[in-house]
Structures are given as structure tokens and as C-alpha cells.
Symmetry: C2
DNA sequence: GAATCATGAGAAAGCGTTTTCTCAGAGCGT
DNA sequence: ACGCTCTGAGAAAACGCTTTCTCATGATTC
């Protein structure tokens, strides 16, 4: 088909800009120009190049492109645990929003291994134009040191002292207080907080919120019980909850609440007649539990897309190191069927 | 600190191999050699280079590396919908397994837009060393045409005619038959299959399986009802299910079953006393529903990690185009509390 | 009609690595 | 002491693209 003598190159090698140039009888440079529409090119030549490109099914190699342009059109996200629906939702929101602007996302799951976080983040940053760090478990000191090296950086559920990295956070303290208030308003007097992972910043926020709640409601008994962040830990806490004598339970999150719900059901404890249970996050499953779960809704999809917007802002204003927005979301209490007035006390 | 005249380059630019070379008083090539341990380097010089590297905090630029080596140490995954727990689990399994071998994963969510799939897959492939295509919705013809261009490719929940692309699939036909059999063994005689998305290959497999089931059990009444693949569609089917008069319901998957469970509960229909319900997939939430859901478990985490293993095999044997494994998993029926013998018929 | 200018295309220099090629010098045998 | 091999380091090419620089051509102006 016209490809004359020594058609050896065709074998194996991917079609590159050089092939298109040769076929169209122009230079590499010109091909690049028409592909990117950067400079004025004679319409006739441009057409010839384009024809050659489609005929050869030419697609620019993004790696070469990235090297020349100094950008990859990719951002990285590092999460502590991809099994957690909250992080899944953030990832999804981020991915969809970024895709809309032609960016892709590279994932890194630290599997809750704190020491890996900064390494993963660094590697991700080198491959990408920016990094979003999701609920990092690392110490404040380490974060503070790492942040500048990651620069186009967005923090989720964590803040730095440095004001030039944007952060998105949720006011867990406020949310947990509102849930507690909701239980008290229903008439509960003995509450339990089933806490989450020790080194989780969001757990600390909840504890601070509950301290404040205690101060404002000295008449309420509020016990703390150690737990985890998943189904199983909720389920395992069943006995402890029952023997606590409390009628209102604030679970660390929806997963824990669901595990607890299941455990209580097995033990024949009725929810909400005997015990009221609240969750946190309002994951999609929360409204389909039996009974549907009262919880504090965090606008999780919005979080992902806002994270992208903050990232984009930084990428665009490359260099101008302005001080960045610190966004804080207020959870909204979602009252469903897992909470009700407690039965009248026998005592 | 010794960095003499005209210390201008330090500003702005990232530290590269050239900086290390200069500091150590050697050539770029030598630095590369000691960083990669490829050729023999004088121990003294090697030490000097390493010292310079740590002092400058040198980290090789992966983009330059990728260009030179022709590989990115990254694989892409394209999924129809990141909100689906099944795909989330596959992504997670894949990501963790790949990370163990030093690979990262780039995600592409087609948002169920069939026409985007092949474009996303192509773009992903160009940026990565391989692509895993997860439950592609595209036509067989399109897939057949696309597959060779994607080459290091792993298919999940879909097969090609081309025997040189490995595929992982689940025997949905078998699984749904076993669930139906389970219901019949319990004594149910009137069943409903609440079907999933039309163009889903796994839905078609279920239908084929049920056809076979029908042939083997002419005495059983089996209705088909259209549905979707998520909570809401299950919830919306509640009325239709109730009025069907069936006592055993085969939901398309666990999500649909959970939506249905919730709807039935609202209507005061007891599960399993009045109606038995089964799901499919055994997502983590399935055993925490009320009542816990009888379902067919697919080893979803294994799927992700096996996908990586198949991908790795292809990457390693680069070129040798051998015929690849077609793995098929058999779901395992997981009997829980959402199924039981039907109440004695009034008629 | 000659000098000036705009237009547009090719040549070549980057981008940051790896790797082949080349060659200087050391070590060895005879 | 001469030539041989061998080790190891620098020079340079390659990877695939973008972009600046340069220069030829044809159009414009006085």
C-alpha cells in the first residue's frame, strides 16, 4: 500500500509522531502543532497531517507529553483504607469531578500503616500534579514537615498550621453533640459513646465535642466505650453495651452502628423500643438498615468534588502561593427509626 | 556552603540527576548506575554519589524514567460505576495486590456510559502498562475490536473470543440456580427473579441459568420482574413483589435485596416468615441486614488479587503471546436468616 | 522595484532518565 | 617492557513529545 522498500519499522514499534510526520511529508514539529492547535499551520498541510494521523491511528504518547510539558494531568489520592465506604465515596467524588476537567486519579491505599503514608504520598506526588491526603494518620509534626514537599496538596479531615494548604473538614464535634442532644430531647438520661480508632483525628474531635456536651449537661450520664471503626467492632461491643445499662448509644460511625444493630437483634434487644442507636456519616446503607438508622449526614460526595475544585485552584495559580480556603462542613442530623423515647424506667 | 558563584539554579527547579552528578563530581550516567545498581561502580564513588543523593534529597523523576524504560509501573482499571460495592472491592483487591509488586493503579469510572468505555480504556492503556476492564457494558463486537489494542488486558465478568486475553468470571448462572434450588428445597413453589440492568452480561448469565432451572423444575412457577442494580430499585419493586403472590424472591444482587428488605419491612411483611429473599454477591453488609441475608458469595477480594496476578503474568512474558487462563469462580451459597420454609398455604 | 514584514515550516534544543558506545587506565601474562 | 584483557567512567544517543529559534518564501509598503 505505498509503504515502499524495507517496511521493517512497522513491526513491533508503536506508531509515533515521527511516523505521522513521514507519512504526511512534514516535520515532527508540524505534526505536534496541528495536534495541539498551538501555532498557525497552513490549512492544506494541517488536513494532510490530520488524515495521516487518523489513518495511522496515531495517539500521542502521554509519557513523552508529560515529560515535555512538566505535567501529568493526574492527581494522586492516599487513603488509610479503601474498604471504608467514606473513603470510597470521597474517591468516587474526586474521580468524577477530576475527570470532568480531563484529569485522572491514581490511588494509594496505606492500609492504615501510618509509616507508609508519607512514602506513598511522596511517590504519588512525583507521578502526579498534586496529591489529596485523606484522613492521614501520621503525627502533626510529620504532616507539617511533609506538606510543603507535596505542594499542590489538599487535606481531608485534617488541618495543618501552614495556611497555604487547603483543607476540607467535617465538624464531627458539632455533629456528635447534636446527636447526643437529640437523644436527650427524646428523654434519654444514660448514654454511651462507642469510640473509634485512637489515632483518628475525627475520633478526637468527637471526644472534644462530647466533653463540651458533658459540661453543658451535667445531669446526663455519658460513658465512653472503646471500639473500632467497622461492623465487626460494633458487633463485638454488643454485650458491653447491653450491660452498660444505657438507653442511648452514640456509635462512632454507621458501620459500627450497623454491627451493633445486628448484635442487639440477635440478643433480642429491640431498637428503638429498648435501646436507641445513632450512627455517623449517613452512608448509603444507613437508610436501609432495620430499623433505618438515625445518623449525622456528612455531604460526602460534595467533599470529593470540592477537594478537586481546591486542587484545581492550586494547579492553576501555580506558584502564586496564596493562602488557601479551609472548608468546614456541618453534619446534618438525620432522624430515622433507630431512635425513640426510652421506655419508662422501672426504678 | 561551598556552592560557589551564581547560585541561581537552586531556585524553583526540582533537584535532578544532574545536580547529584555535579555535587558528587561524576557524570549523570554514573549516578543512574548507582541508583539502579545496574553496572559495577567503584565503591568509593558509589558512596560519594549516595551521599550526595541523600543530602540533596534526590528522588528520580518517574516520568523521565518511564520514558526511558518504556514502562510506567502503573495499571489502569475501568469500572462502570465506582459506587457499586462489588467494583469497589475489586478495585481494592487489585490495588493492594499490585502495590505489593510496586505497581500503582489509575482509575477510570465510565459512569455506565457505554460509549465512553473504549475511549477511557484506550487512554488508560496509553498511560499504563496494562488495563483491567471490569464488567464492560460495550457490545461484543466493540470489545473484540478493542481487546488487541489494549493488550496487557484482563477482563472481569466478560469473556472474548480471542483466547489470549485472560478473563475472570463468576458463574452467575450456577449461583442463581443454587439459590433457586435452596428455596425449592425449603418448600417454596412460587418464585420471582428480580432482574438487573439489561446490558449487564452477568444479568444475562443469571437468566440463562434460570431457564435451565425452569427446564429441570417444570412444577415451579418462576416469574421475571424488571429491576435495577441498586437499593432504590429494590425498594421500588416492593409493591410488585407483594402482589406477585410469590413466597421466594431471588434479587439481582445484595443491594437490590436490601432495598427490598427495607420496603417489605415498611409494609409489615415479615421476612422470612411471609416471604423469603435472597441476594447475590455477599457484600460485607449482607450479614448485617435484618434479617441477615441469604446470598451467593463471590470471592470478591480474591477476584481483585487474581486479576493482578494475571496481569503480572502478561507483563512479565511480554510478547510471547501465549494463550491465557480463563478463570471461573463458583459462587458459594451462604444461608442466613432471610430464607425459611414458607407458611402453610391457605388454599 | 527594493526594503520591510508577516507567515509558516523545518532544525534543534530541551524535558529527566537509562543505556549503549567508547575509551582511558590498571592489571596481567609472557 | 610490551601488548592483551578487563574494569569502570564519561560522552552521547535514545525514549516521544513540545517549543523556541531560525530562516525561507511570498506579501506589503513607500
Amino acid at each position: 500500500m505505498g509503504r515502499g522498500h524495507m517496511a521493517r519499522r512497522n513491526t513491533n514499534r508503536r506508531v509515533g509522531i515521527a511516523d505521522v510526520a513521514e507519512k504526511a511529508g512534514v516535520s515532527h514539529a508540524t505534526v505536534s502543532r496541528v495536534m495541539n492547535g498551538n501555532a498557525a499551520v497552513d490549512p492544506g498541510i494541517a488536513a494532510r497531517v490530520r488524515a495521516a494521523a487518523v489513518e495511522l491511528k496515531y495517539q500521542p504518547n502521554p509519557v513523552g507529553r508529560s515529560l515535555a510539558l512538566g505535567k501529568t494531568d493526574t492527581i494522586g489520592i492516599v487513603v488509610p483504607d479503601l474498604a471504608n465506604p467514606t473513603f470510597q465515596a470521597i474517591l468516587r467524588g474526586l474521580s468524577i469531578a477530576a475527570a470532568q476537567d480531563g484529569y485522572r486519579v491514581l490511588i494509594a491505599d496505606s492500609s492504615e500503616v501510618t509509616s507508609e503514608e508519607s512514602i506513598l504520598a511522596g511517590e504519588a506526588r512525583r507521578r502526579c500534579d498534586g496529591v489529596v491526603l485523606c484522613a492521614p494518620r501520621m503525627s502533626d509534626a510529620e504532616l507539617e514537615e511533609l506538606a510543603p514537599t507535596l505542594h499542590p496538596l489538599v487535606l481531608i479531615n485534617r488541618t495543618t498550621i501552614a495556611t497555604n494548604t487547603p483543607s476540607l473538614s467535617v465538624d464531627y464535634g458539632q455533629g456528635i453533640q447534636e446527636l447526643a442532644q437529640h437523644l436527650v430531647t427524646l428523654g434519654h438520661r444514660r448514654l454511651v459513646f462507642l469510640s473509634g480508632p485512637e489515632h483518628s483525628a475525627s475520633n478526637r474531635q468527637r471526644l472534644v465535642g462530647l466533653d463540651q456536651f458533658r459540661a453543658e449537661h451535667p445531669e446526663i450520664e455519658l460513658q465512653m466505650l472503646h471500639g473500632g471503626s467497622n461492623f465487626d467492632s460494633g458487633h463485638e461491643s454488643t454485650e458491653a453495651i447491653i450491660s452498660s445499662g444505657a438507653t442511648g448509644i452514640l456509635a462512632f460511625n454507621d458501620l459500627v452502628a450497623m454491627g451493633l444493630l445486628s448484635g442487639l437483634h440477635e440478643r433480642g434487644v429491640r431498637v428503638p423500643e429498648d435501646i436507641s442507636v445513632t450512627g455517623f456519616d449517613d452512608i448509603p446503607f444507613a437508610k436501609y438498615t432495620t430499623p433505618p438508622l438515625t445518623t449525622a449526614a456528612v455531604p460526602i460526595n460534595e467533599l470529593g468534588s470540592l477537594a478537586w475544585r481546591r486542587m484545581r485552584e492550586q494547579i492553576q495559580q501555580a506558584g502564586e502561593a496564596a493562602t488557601q480556603a479551609q472548608d468546614e462542613f456541618s453534619p446534618r442530623v438525620e432522624i430515622r427509626k433507630s431512635t425513640a423515647a426510652p421506655a419508662l424506667k422501672p426504678a
